[in-house]
Symmetry: C2
Subunit: 208 residues, 2 copies
């Protein structure tokens, strides 16, 4: 989806001797992204608008963050690159894809720094943040996963996965309803993965 971001993040800056200036550009982009995501939502925020707000060329977003997802990860302090994590998750046994998704995301949300509620609140007000997170998971995470595994009705599957994951996140981390709030990841996998798996690869031919 983007031009080799890893290359841009490692060799290129050094080669061009732009590290100091680059850090300024990155900081300006992070600040601009926070404002544009809050105003426009994840879907509405364009790389062009964020770059314009930061007063830098739009190519700098791909150069420093590998695209919109990477920038979102940066401003929400996600301790992972969502693009890389998704590439890791999707390769493997298709029938345990939902389990791998839950096993990868729940510990990240559980961690203090990258916690789901903290992530939501770090973007904007909780109201806007819920919308941004919902769009991010439906479009960037599950939209990408269903695209890579090449499954039918991918748009439907992505939005259905979004309902389950957003609901899980809100009930566990924001509402903190028991027994879900204190459950360990194995328990959550056993309970939720079969439902998420149906949305990912199961029979959803009942669409009218």
């Amino acid at each position: 989806m983007t031009d080799d971001p890893a290359d841009g993040l490692t060799d290129a800056p050094r080669r061009r001797g732009r590290r100091a200036g680059g850090e300024d550009t990155k900081a300006a982009l992070v600040e601009a992204a926070r404002a544009v995501f809050a105003e426009q939502g994840y879907q509405g925020a364009t790389v062009r608008a964020i770059a314009a707000r930061a007063g830098v060329d739009a190519a700098m977003v791909n150069h420093w963050f590998g695209g919109k997802q990477g920038l979102f990860a940066a401003i929400t302090h996600l301790p992972f690159d969502p693009v890389e994590l998704i590439e890791t998750i999707v390769h493997g046994d298709r029938e345990t894809l939902a389990e791998r998704i839950i096993r990868n995301f729940v510990p990240i949300w559980d961690s203090a720094e990258g916690g789901f509620a903290a992530v939501m609140l770090s973007v904007a007000s909780q109201e806007t943040a819920a919308a941004i997170m919902g769009q991010f998971f439906t479009k960037a995470v599950f939209g990408r996963i269903t695209e890579v595994i090449g499954v039918d009705r991918s748009e439907w599957r992505a939005v259905l996965c979004g309902t389950q994951i957003l609901g899980l996140g809100v009930v566990r981390y924001v509402l903190k309803l028991e027994p879900l709030a204190s459950a360990d990841v194995d328990t959550i996998v056993g309970l939720v993965a079969p439902n998420l798996q149906r949305y990912l690869t199961g029979d959803i031919d009942t669409i009218q």
Copy 2:
């Protein structure tokens, strides 16, 4: 869960010739409930606290609204009595319980007056409202349903159903993500009911 609310709502007020005073009491309770739900959430708000805020006896809540659920329905303009609707839904084929839940709730949320987003916003800020709705569905709706059908691990089932229904409501009505936002109820039943049904009556013995 409450003392015969139907009786209290019909004969008693007329018998005692208190209709005018009763309307005042009802209005005071609705106003107090709105404030207490917003401050305490659905779970935290007690009938006693709402009645105290309204300056009336706690028995008036059961008398006029059949309990906390009825009062919640009144302030959120739900065009149904949740207690009665749940009693109707739970009686019937257990294997189509999830379908009946979706077929009953989605049209209510779709309607302009009782819309899910409108209901959420009518209570308080969207942030607080999401928490209140989440608690209401997990505790009052699914907590009651799993209790009536007498299923094992009912507390777990209620909270899992809560994740799916809250996620469905937020993605369809608040985020308005397609293709879910425009889908008809038959399509939603085909897609979501099997997942909700597993949470209600399916095998969730994988709990650690």
